[in-house]
């Protein structure tokens, strides 16, 4: 044989059926950072190129939901929101909640939705959910602007509480919501490749989750009105904590502690990494089962 055979360490890479479960491929993700940027640009550009209704929907949806919540929860169920106008109170909860819900919804069918492209080209699959989470930030900021507008209006009417110094930690809250949505989304998207009907449960699940996440009521009210064997569902729900913290930041009312923020952030990071491990494991062979 004239062939010069290379030594194993001379190979650029080796494809083998075995893999290290905890190899997170962070280096590879970094190498594909330009793709991440391109995906985010694509998502944003196409959102506004397609329909007029697309962007308007992002404005109408939280407003209408807030109106309905105000009628039902504050009008009929008589939930008190302190010095804060109930509509504004609900809008705050919905704005931050929507970011989580949108991220979760959009990432949870990553594999199914991108089957076509995943089946043909390789790139670290995690780029896709990551880009969704980032481009959803844009939608979130639009909704945040709407909220800010209403906030100013009610502020001058004296029914918006006051900004708390804790508002400086608002990026942490946003990142926490993003990581939770992304992490759970990745876990679910991996499960969907095997048990496809799961995707129908997501919509329903998110709805239920919203009701126990203190979106339209303060946490204190659950402790006050419900027996402790039920109220813990809200009280110890990290999502409820994030929503409540966000409201505290803008209204300076409700429960808040930096410890809670810290704990939920760490939890979100853990969920994200668990999601990443499961996602990376699924991406290897999902195309055979989907």
């Amino acid at each position: 044989m004239k062939d010069k055979v290379k030594d194993t360490d001379e190979w650029l890479f080796i494809i083998s059926p075995e893999s290290n479960l905890f190899d997170l491929k962070l280096k590879e993700i970094w190498r594909y950072r330009d793709l991440l940027v391109q995906f985010v640009v694509r998502d944003i550009v196409t959102l506004y190129k397609q329909t007029v209704l697309g962007p308007i929907w992002h404005i109408l949806q939280p407003l209408l939901t807030s109106v309905v919540f105000t009628i039902v929860f504050n009008g009929i169920a008589d939930i008190k929101t302190g010095n804060v106008n109930s509509f504004l109170f609900n809008l705050a909860g919905i704005t931050i909640w929507n970011y989580f819900a949108e991220c979760l919804k959009a990432t949870s069918d990553t594999f199914k939705k991108n089957e076509n492209i995943f089946g043909k080209v390789y790139f670290p699959r995690v780029i896709t959910p990551l880009s969704i989470t980032i481009s959803n930030l844009v939608k979130f900021f639009i909704q945040l602007c709407i909220f800010a507008g209403f906030y100013c209006f009610f502020y001058f009417q004296g029914s918006a509480g006051s900004l708390s110094i804790a508002i400086l930690t608002v990026p942490v809250v946003i990142v926490t919501m993003g990581l939770l949505g992304l992490g759970f989304g990745m876990i679910i998207s991996s499960m969907v490749t095997k048990y496809r009907d799961l995707v129908f449960l997501i919509q329903f699940g998110i709805q239920l989750l919203m009701y126990i996440s203190a979106v339209m009521y303060p946490i204190a009210i659950t402790v006050e009105r419900l027996p402790s064997y039920i109220s813990w569902v809200v009280n110890y729900n990290p999502l409820a904590r994030v929503v409540e913290s966000f409201r505290y930041m803008v209204f300076a009312e409700g429960q808040f502690s930096f410890l809670h923020i810290g704990i939920t952030f760490v939890l979100a990071v853990i969920v994200f990494f668990i999601g990443l491990v499961i996602f990376n494991k699924t991406e290897r062979n999902f195309i055979d089962t989907i």
Binding site: I15, Q38, R42, V121, Y122, F123, N285, T289
Partner: protein, 438 residues
């Protein structure tokens, strides 16, 4: 000359599960996991057999690839040929990391980029320019790389005028050109090309072939070229791998590989049967029972003289009492192009025969002599009904046959030797006159 191995494929196998993934998956999963924690071998890896789609296997697991083992040298264009279902696509998917092998190793000395299907990830709403950046990034290029090659890509694709137009307004040819241009300007050490040449006009095809030659020649990069087009394979490659039923049949000189490939197609029997209804392909409206290629004497046969009629006999279980079933055939040439399709409903007594009781239908189609050109062909056979259109079964490239011309003078080409153009070769009527010169 010392050749350097840039890609080494060692004993690669890939197993697939057939059938519906029902509740059994969980059962199998648990069983697998139970074996694994006890340190035993995976119980489902032992089962499985050769991946021959025309014989129905007893196992639910099938090896799409089995012990594939070959080397690719730096700077060469290696052809990969095999009929549909031979494992080509699976191999490419593994090489491009879309899916993982079940067993075996692939060692690569360079980046692999694939053109599995060009235009992947094109977004119709984005402009040509935006799509170049998006597609380039998907294929693994960095932004600066794309910027530096942008003009070249646009020029190669010939879409300068439309670069700021959304891709949804492009013609399909323009899309392909743009996509190929992006991919061709990638700079991976190993480029995998699959069937891109099937699309685009002749001018572009030549351009693409030229570009591929440049890539391997001047730039010293390695190309894996997968195609049904024996012509293109022979033009582009010196060495080729023949895959058949998931195994490597031949590795070596392209000429021999092409011969091996064509011969292999003819090795199969000119007839195929399914004994029981349960194992036959199809659904509850119709299932194939037997398909046979035969000559005018009703004898099974797979080599036909150009002057000879070819009969394709399709026998199937007709259980459709709602609509009228029809058998259909398609003749495909060695370039993978469908020459023509024909349907059982062309028979004058078709609707009479299909009265509403269930039964076994035998439909025989005759291709007249002096109609087919020389060459190798395959037959796809299906059963379905029209209005509404339903396909109960369609078996692609089920049987193969060869048409030859012994140039004794009885065929269309008479005694002329050399190549004779045309995909079909009908004997046409000529009227000749001659007037004497004054």
């Amino acid at each position: 000359m010392e050749k350097k191995v840039i890609l080494s494929i060692e004993n690669v196998s890939k197993q697939y599960r057939l059938g519906v993934m029902g509740t059994r998956t969980i059962k199998h999963d648990i069983n697998r996991w139970w074996h694994k924690i006890r340190g035993k071998e995976d119980p489902y890896l032992k089962i499985g057999e050769r991946n021959n789609r025309s014989t129905v296997g007893k196992s639910k697991y099938v090896w799409a690839l089995k012990n594939i083992d070959f080397q690719v040298y730096e700077g060469e264009v290696l052809g990969i040929i095999g009929k549909n279902g031979s494992g080509k696509s699976t191999l490419l998917k593994i090489l491009s990391k879309v899916t993982m092998p079940t067993k075996g190793l692939i060692k690569s000395g360079g980046r692999i980029a694939s053109l599995l299907e060009v235009g992947t990830g094109f977004h119709p709403e984005l402009t040509g320019k935006e799509n170049i950046f998006l597609n380039g990034a998907i294929l693994g290029m960095s932004k600066s790389e794309i910027v530096s090659k942008f003009d070249e890509i646009v020029e190669f694709a010939g879409v300068q005028r439309y670069i700021d137009t959304p891709v949804k307004r492009y013609s399909s040819g323009m899309k392909v050109r743009l996509a190929f241009a992006v991919a061709a300007h990638l700079e991976p050490e190993i480029l995998v090309v699959d069937e891109v040449l099937a699309v685009g006009d002749a001018e572009f095809q030549n351009k693409a072939i030229g570009k591929m030659k440049d890539i391997s020649g001047d730039e010293g990069r390695t190309v894996l070229f997968v195609s049904h087009d024996m012509d293109a394979i022979q033009k582009l490659t010196k060495r080729a791998v023949v895959l058949s039923d998931g195994e490597v049949l031949y590795v070596g000189e392209t000429d021999k590989a092409v011969q091996t490939y064509l011969k292999k197609g003819l090795e199969s029997e000119p007839t195929i049967s399914w004994d029981t209804f349960e194992t036959a392909p199809g659904n509850d409206f119709g299932r194939l029972k037997n398909v046979t290629l035969q000559n005018a004497d009703n004898k099974a046969c797979k080599r036909f003289n150009v002057t000879e009629p070819i009969q394709i006999s399709v026998r199937y279980w007709d259980l459709n009492t709602e609509y009228t079933n029809t058998a259909m055939i398609r003749i495909i040439n060695e370039r993978g192009q469908c020459l023509f399709a024909s349907n059982e409903f062309s028979a004058p007594n078709w609707s009479e025969v299909h009265s509403d009781h269930k039964g076994i239908v035998t439909a025989v189609c005759t291709i007249p002599g002096n109609y087919m050109a020389e060459g190798q062909f395959t037959v796809s056979v299906g059963v379905g009904n029209y209005n509404p259109n339903m396909t109960h079964v369609l078996e692609e490239n089920l049987l193969a046959f060869e048409v030859y011309d012994n140039t004794m003078g009885e065929g269309v080409r008479g005694k002329a030797s050399g190549s004779w153009p045309g995909m079909v070769r009908p004997m046409l009527a000529w009227h000749v006159e001659k007037t004497a010169l004054d």
